[in-house]
Subunit: 227 residues, 4 copies
């Protein structure tokens, strides 16, 4: 895959570059605030930069006529609208957390959400001390999937790339669900994985999220074994 | 609820009696190999005894014209057929694990089963040293829900009522799902809960399992939040 | 062992009675606010009641000339002084948490406390919703053993007898230490265990704590294997 | 610190080079089977290669008159004897696991080893599928510190840098102790940390291990709080 990166000097941009190198992909286009280096038109464009860059990224995707994968956080409605408009002409994928494991947590919690009405739930998240916001966006998003106002507790402790734990309790039993990210790489490789997925569905324009990607794979929970 | 218990002298029978007392239910009928004490006809009959007792339990349920909840393990096909035949006349509920939490684990694993095709999975279960069989029936049943031949490891350690852990791994991230039972009471109160559920659907005969009970609540995983 | 119980109508008193029954011990004396039932003089007196009862419990121990095991929480200095004075004449054991597992946590954290100077630490505790105070006394006590002002987070969730977790983090690695109590019984049986320990050292008066009990067993950490 | 690396082309050698770069240290000497590049004499020599290289590494340390830090696994007695002989002339540090967290686990388990005589213990370790040996050397070493023949279970699952869990159980309570390594970097930075520690004690020859390093910090477990 020949990849283009918007925001290649940022932390996620650098992580994407490392991932691309390890995967035998190549970076053929990279752009940051003051730099733009174009070798050939990329197969796919990834934007992990700032909301203000969205307009320019959309234009680039149209010029290259290639899918756009966006992981920039803090987008306003106007930015999402630009992405939706662009998605009429090229495939656009948008998520604020490209970890496939975190997506599994969403799927699992959605699947039991109604069963939990008599249970109590608590969410705990731990991140390194450089992370300024608390609770994490991912914790808030898990709370939304659970559709209940459960307590969230946050720790900011040295060196933790990201740990999310959901504790689900009832009389005489407890369920713990925990996701551990070992490094920022999980988000970069998840985004590249989504880019590859878009490319395998060539010419299908549209606006995609983690949910749409796994839709076919999560609709069929009624075929569990009888236990 | 006025309850009848088959196998009231066994460990689960005794646990059921304790639960009934705490819940303001009453036990109006109890039976074991050599004893049978009938006060009045029960609203519901619970059988946690031995496979050989099934035939007699089915007859009793027909006499009382009340639902039958079975938690006996090690049933053969001929026993299940008896239950199914009985379920034409009275509601019959059958499960080998009445913990609602373990049912949540099944639902969750079923919901992500297809998403996990590139992931590795391992199951670990720990039980007290009196438990003779390994791996536990519940671990085997979780493996079946995952529809893959993943490794299962068993510990038999003093005093552990029951712990099941599923480890789901990929490059750079790991998910741990763990169920902890605090006491045998979780199975007794789960069975009583299923009895109450049957009674709330009066006159509906049929053969029910944990899956049928929660069917309406687990079919709709596509309405997750976009994240 | 023939046991006496002060506060036998309280939750811990009832738990002690259940434990005594299961262990082939007997309760030969029991007292509560308005009741006092004496069969014979006990081998050991256990007080799990209220601070106001301490004076009377001390007198009883002197009358019976038997060891006194105290688990009452919320004692003031004046109560501890009474216990210390009494301990000149009979053995007195005092702890606010008789779980042997929690004592292991204290021993472990004390053993690494100096090694952790460059690490970050967080404590999380979860208890049932009836528990009013937060953080738990045990969490505060673990923090004291760590000799650092680390953050403590508390959850109050249905049905959890008591879970304490310490998370110890550094660049590239994390340690989780977790204690799970399955029921209140762990505190009752821990207290009875301490009573038995006192009786095995007959006639040695003095004021004992969990630390003094395990002193001989925790002083020798330098004989670890070379690894 | 100016570092020399024996085995710089191996996985740990490459990890050491990355760590050195990030820490503002420099690599002034590197050697592998067919290469040897010397800029200036190093302050410290690190050997993460193969047992057969030990003899040559010892000679180099004597030539450079600098400390030697060895992390090579699978050493025989004859290799350890060489290291001990060399340690009469220069400081030598030897460990098969330079993670400070794993050392904490050893210290903690040693501190409670005698308290655990009535408890059951199980060890579980999980590593990536490329790891050939099972159980891990670290699991065996933890078992040795516990001084008991407890069961060890191993999982080999995709992408797990290294997870060790010890489960300690008794009637009504359980302790879980878990160490998670996020990447191989933890071993490289631990070794560099030990090199720095040796340099801060200039001219003290001798044979050092993780135990000797933290000796002063683990001997004083009796000053725990009274709880």
């Amino acid at each position: 895959m020949q990849v283009g990166i918007i925001g290649y000097l940022g932390k996620m941009g650098q992580e994407l570059l490392r991932c691309i190198e390890e995967n035998d992909d190549t970076c053929v286009y990279k752009k940051d605030q003051d730099n733009e280096i174009l070798q050939v038109h990329p197969d796919c464009l990834l934007d992990f930069s700032i909301p203000e860059a969205i307009a320019s990224s959309c234009k680039k995707a149209l010029v290259f006529q290639c899918p756009l994968v966006v992981g920039t956080t803090g987008l306003g409605n106007q930015h999402v609208e630009m992405l939706e408009k662009t998605s009429k002409s090229v495939p656009v994928f948008y998520s604020t957390n490209y970890s496939l494991g975190i997506h599994c947590l969403h799927t699992m919690l959605a699947s039991i959400q109604k069963q939990l009405k008599d249970w109590d739930v608590g969410i705990m998240e731990t991140h390194h001390t450089e992370k300024k916001d608390a609770p994490s966006g991912t914790a808030l998003s898990l709370q939304k999937t659970l559709a209940r106002n459960c307590p969230i507790q946050s720790f900011r402790l040295k060196g933790v790339p990201g740990e999310h734990q959901i504790m689900i309790t009832n009389q005489n039993e407890t369920i713990h669900i925990k996701h551990t990210a070992y490094s920022r790489k999980v988000f970069a490789s998840g985004a590249l994985d989504c880019a590859r997925w878009l490319l395998s569905h060539k010419y299908e324009n549209g606006f995609f999220t983690m949910n749409s990607r796994f839709k076919g794979e999560q609709n069929e929970t009624n075929n569990t074994t009888n236990h």
